[in-house]
């Protein structure tokens, strides 16, 4: 199998196209590379849908764990780093905070020492107010953490106050009750420096509370240094620290850049911060007790957001971000893999479930993989044809084309659809429609084959059915026209198009009037259509006159029937149209030919009739027959046919109706001669009839009679049968020499008489005359010789034989004259002693005379009877020739047998004379009698042999 085909692309274009290219790069970096099914071709059927879900989880377990470990490790690393960082920070913080505490304490101690200085000077009394103010102001200018410096007298009355512009402690005021007053008292009582509780200068009696909850000012702490002048208490020198100012001025800028510095009271309440804001991260806070200012105070340092911190955070964020990204991408990958897997499962399922045959072939057309449809359709087990070349299966007729397709595919050119036949296991060939997509770099062809055998067979059946129908439709000569109920033409067949000479396109959809209606017959054609649509069309069809495209008219016969669709509804009318022009024409032609036939028959001089054999009535008679024989087949059924007219009158007893007749007869009424031919034929309706053709041959007959007579005369002379004829010849021949002799003699006489003669001449002439006389003598001798030769040679013969022979010789002559010769011969006659030839000649002579005599007689009477009977004398036999002719007149009877008596214009009168001589030679007698029925009877007798 070869077919590559691009049809896969068509069958599942979206699925296959992206998949193919994806296939190669993907396995390299996807976890699928490790998956078992990545291994090369394995029949899909086995891997099918059956892999347990556990496997899949196992596949994913390792990457899952790896990802989790990776994330945990990263988290741990981050945590450790963070911790180390915190530790380092904390260590730095501790260092810094200790440094800060020390710095602040040193400042406080310095301030305390200044105040102590003032107290000492006061006590010594060396201190005047101006110096105080000057020195205090100077000191405060260098130590801005100090708000003011005041000398509080022993009665809490403020005596001096520096700087002079301060408003917090005005000279003359008393110390307010509260922490300030309390610290004064303690300093007085203890004689030691005392620090007050923090308070807000504006409300010195109330405790300060938490700085975060107050916005009205910074906490102030006062230091009181008692002044003792020799045990005499003189009040205190007091300095006021603003916590904020303290923190602000005493922390160097590099410190404040890194940390936030805060002072907390004993309860942990914030008294003031360097920045005024607290930090969120407690891990970065360090507190140390800050004793110099009072009991329980703590200095707190919180590390500020520094550069390194930001980088670390960034790192963390980065790591977290990366982890998230990995997880996300892993998840996406999983999802994608799941999708792919699903797609693969689906694809495999489709591959296995597909009714079409899907297969993968190597470039040479060998099967690499095939779906179960192959087994199902072709019937081979999978193993039996995997690895086999497809060409083996291909029908030999299709092999070449298939090979060509394979070759084309091997070049990477995708195949369009092509069809071939493949042999199934049962030996039957299936029609397959192939679509093949080549993947040359893989050396594979992806092919889809669709079993189109049924379709093909269906198509073929349909095509042949269609072709048959079409051929049938085209071959019928009847025009078909279908119209809807309004008369619009919906269909016409070829025959109809040919008939009207218009193409189908010009007819379909037309409404009446139709283009093929003849304008002059439009009413007829319209009526025809209306009747069709009304359903009143007669079953026998309707006549219409149509016009062809070339203007020719033709007669049509239209039959209409309703057109019923598959639902049984009538959708229109089907009309079948026959061109009956030819029928009409042939009918006309038939009529014309009949007329011609009749004209020809009527134009014939011969009478033609047809009569029924059984009933005898006339079926047809042409004009000549009607005229001559008075036959009128229509009027007179019993009219006689020419045969009956001619024949029955002559011989009513003779004639078999079915026998073929070919004879000549004389019409009894008009005497004309007819040649009658009749024979039995099959009439148009199948019955047996007799056709008779009677041709008037009177003229011909006469001419024939003439020639016959001449012929007969010739025969007579040649056979020397008629003595009279011989005598005539003899006379003529003798005449010549006799006349010549007479002439010579007369010439001699004349010359001798006139005496003017030449002797020699006379002698010569006389010799000539003698020669002529000899010539005459020779003639005479010839006659004598003849007579001698013809002397009777008598033998015993049966007279009946002679008569029959003579009758048969004369039969022809009798027939020509319309007469019949009838024999009436006695059977028991004795033989006679006679010259057979001579007696025959006598008989012929008498018969001819008789026939001649009857020439004028009516035809029905023309009958010559020859009889033979015993004569009255028992030693004789009498033969009679009886005619019905004109007879012999009484006075002629005696002369009849004399020589040279004749009643015929050309006769010599020798016949009867010679006849009598012959009979007398036989010792017989010849005589004549009148026939009582008319005519005459010639009789002669012959001696019997006894």
């Amino acid at each position: 199998m070869t077919p590559p085909a691009e049809n896969l692309a068509l069958a599942a274009p979206s699925a296959s196209t992206p998949e193919a290219p994806a296939a190669s790069p993907e396995p390299a970096e996807s976890p699928r590379a490790a998956a078992p099914e990545a291994n090369p071709p394995r029949p899909l059927a086995t891997t099918a849908g059956g892999r347990p879900p556990l496997d899949r989880t196992a596949v994913w377990l390792l990457p899952n764990i790896a990802v989790i470990c990776f994330i945990v490790a990263m988290g741990a690393l981050l945590h450790v780093l963070h911790r180390q960082e915190l530790e380092q920070q904390r260590a730095a913080l501790v260092r810094d905070i200790q440094w800060a505490e020390q710095t602040i304490r040193l400042h406080l101690q310095a301030n305390q020492e200044v105040l102590t200085q003032f107290a000492n000077e006061m006590a010594q009394g060396t201190l005047d107010p101006d110096a105080f103010l000057l020195r205090a102001s100077q000191h405060m200018a260098n130590n801005p953490e100090l708000e003011n410096m005041v000398w509080v007298g022993e009665n809490t009355l403020i005596r001096w106050s520096a700087p002079f512009e301060t408003t917090a402690r005005l000279v003359g005021e008393r110390l307010p009750r509260g922490p300030s007053d309390e610290a004064f008292r303690r300093a007085r009582e203890t004689g030691r420096v005392a620090y007050s509780e923090p308070f807000l200068p504006d409300r010195p009696e109330a405790p300060f509370g938490d700085a975060r909850q107050r916005a009205d000012g910074s906490a102030t702490i006062e230091i009181h240094v008692p002044i003792y002048e020799d045990k005499l208490f003189r009040g205190t020198f007091s300095g006021a620290y603003s916590v904020s100012g303290l923190l602000y001025h005493l922390a160097p800028p590099w410190f404040t850049d890194k940390y936030q510095l805060a002072l907390l009271d004993r309860e942990g309440r914030l008294l003031g911060t360097r920045a005024g804001a607290t930090l969120d991260d407690p891990a970065l806070t360090q507190e140390i007790p800050f004793e110099p200012l009072g009991k329980g105070l703590k200095l707190q340092v919180a590390s500020l957001r520094t550069e390194s911190r930001f980088a670390q955070q960034m790192l963390t964020v980065l790591i977290l971000g990366l982890s998230v990204t990995i997880v996300w991408s892993f998840w996406m990958l999983r999802r994608h893999m799941g999708g792919r897997r699903q797609a693969e499962v689906e694809r495999d399922r489709l591959f296995n479930l597909s009714l079409d045959m899907l297969c993968i072939l190597s470039l040479d057309g060998t099967f690499r993989r095939a779906n179960p449809a192959f087994e199902r359709i072709l019937g081979y087990s999978r193993d039996s044809f995997l690895g086999r070349p497809t060409l083996e299966l291909v029908h030999p007729d299709d092999r070449e084309a298939t090979r060509a397709e394979l070759k084309k595919l091997a070049t990477g050119e995708p195949s369009t659809y092509f069809e071939n036949r493949c042999r199934g296991a049962d030996g039957r060939y299936r029609w397959l429609l192939w679509s093949v997509n080549p993947a040359v770099e893989e050396g594979l062809l992806y092919a889809v084959a669709h079993d189109i055998t049924d379709r093909k067979e269906g198509e073929q059946a349909l095509a042949s059915a269609y072709a048959f129908r079409k051929a049938m439709e085209d071959s019928i000569l009847t025009g078909m026209r279908a119209s809807d109920l309004e008369g619009r033409i919906t269909y016409v067949n070829q025959a109809f198009c040919r008939m009207v000479g218009l193409p189908e396109a010009e007819l379909i959809g037309r409404l009446p009037p139709f283009p093929y209606w003849a304008p002059e017959a439009e009413e007829i054609d319209r009526r025809c259509l209306e009747r069709t649509l009304e359903g009143t069309a007669p079953a026998s069809g309707m006549e219409a006159l149509f016009r062809r495209a070339n203007g020719e008219r033709f007669d049509a016969r239209v039959y209409a029937s309703p057109l019923i669709d598959a639902q049984g509804r009538q959708t229109g009318w089907m009309a079948s149209i026959n061109d009956v022009t030819e029928q009409k024409r042939s009918r006309e032609a038939l009529r014309a030919s009949h007329e011609r036939f009749v004209a020809v028959l009527d134009g014939l001089d011969a009478a033609v009739t047809v009569a029924d054999l059984d009933a005898g009535n006339l079926l047809y008679a042409n004009r000549a027959a009607r005229r001559t024989f008075g036959c009128e087949p229509e009027q007179n059924q019993t009219c006689a046919s020419p045969w009956q007219v001619l024949h029955e009158m002559v011989a009513p007893d003779a004639g078999d109706a079915e026998q073929a007749i070919d004879t000549e007869l004389q019409h009894p009424a008009n005497g004309c001669w007819y040649h009658l031919r009749a024979r039995a034929i099959k009439w148009v309706d199948g019955r047996s009839v007799r056709m008779e053709v009677a041709t008037d041959i009177t003229e011909h007959k006469l001419a024939e009679e003439m020639s016959r007579q001449q012929l007969e005369r010739l025969q007579r002379t040649s056979r020397l049968i008629t003595m009279g004829e011989m005598a005539s010849t003899l006379a003529h021949e003798l005449n010549q020499p006799l006349a010549a002799i007479a002439n010579y003699s007369m010439g001699c006489v004349s010359r001798l008489r006139s005496a003017s003669f030449n002797r020699e001449e006379l002698l010569r002439t006389m010799q000539k005359a003698t020669a002529q006389a000899e010539r005459a003598g020779q003639i005479i001798r010839r006659v004598r010789d003849f007579v001698r030769k013809s002397e009777p040679q008598k033998n015993l013969v049966a007279v009946a034989e002679i008569i029959e022979e003579a009758a048969s010789v004369a039969e022809g002559a009798a027939h020509k004259r319309g007469a019949r010769i009838v024999l009436d011969l006695r059977a028991d006659l004795p033989q006679v002693l006679a010259d057979r030839i001579m007696i025959e000649q006598v008989l012929l002579n008498l018969v001819r005379n008789g026939l001649d005599a009857m020439e004028q007689a009516p035809p029905n009477l023309r009958r010559l009877t020859l009889t033979a009977e015993p004569a009255p004398d028992p030693s004789m036999v009498m033969v009679s020739v009886v005619d019905r002719g004109h007879g012999v007149r009484e006075e002629a009877m005696a002369k009849l047998f004399e020589p040279f008596y004749t009643t015929k214009a050309e006769g010599m009168g020798m016949g009867l004379n010679i006849c009598r001589s012959i009979i007398e030679l036989h010792q017989g007698r010849l005589w004549v009698e009148a026939n009582p029925q008319g005519g005459s009877v010639f009789r002669f007798t012959l001696p019997t042999g006894a």
Binding site: L738, M746, G747, S750, S754, K768, A769, E906
Partner: protein, 210 residues
Amino acid sequence: MPREDATVFVVDDDEAMRDSLHWLLESMEFRVATFASGEDFLAAYSPRQAGCLVLDVRMPGMSGLELHDRLNAAGVALPIVFITGHGEVPMAVAALKKGAVDFIEKPFAERDLLAIIERCLALDAARRLERGEREQAQQKLATLTPREREVMDMVVVGKLNKIIADSLDISIKTVEVHRARVMEKLEARSVADLVQRVMVAQGGKPPPAN
């Protein structure tokens, strides 16, 4: 006697008969010419030759009757005598109807033959004379001028000179001159003679009666 310039032509197929007739007729002092067949005779005969024809009815080839027909058709008016044998009388009768002079049956008497032949020759001579006169008269008539002919036509029907002059619109004198010339040319001695000559010239028919 016309015997000198007239010939008896004999046509007979029988040599003896021909020869004996020749002998006999010669003894009667006729000039004789014999022919064995009708064809021979037709080949040799010229209509100017006077005489008569003795013809056998029955001959092989052209029969006597046929030869007769041929001569009639050619306008030759030679008198013919048929010689007939036994039974040929009806043929001879038919020949007579077509203009033959006579027939004689073999064998015949000398006298009969002589009489018949002489009658034939006389008839032939008379016919030839008449024809000669007619031709002469016609020749003379042909010499007339048309005007003379007109005048003559009127004279012969008996019209007077004056009437002739009036009808021809010429003077009487002129008529008289024409008339004298006509008489002279036709060698007529009188008007009756003139009429006679004109009749001869016109084949015996009387002149037109206009």
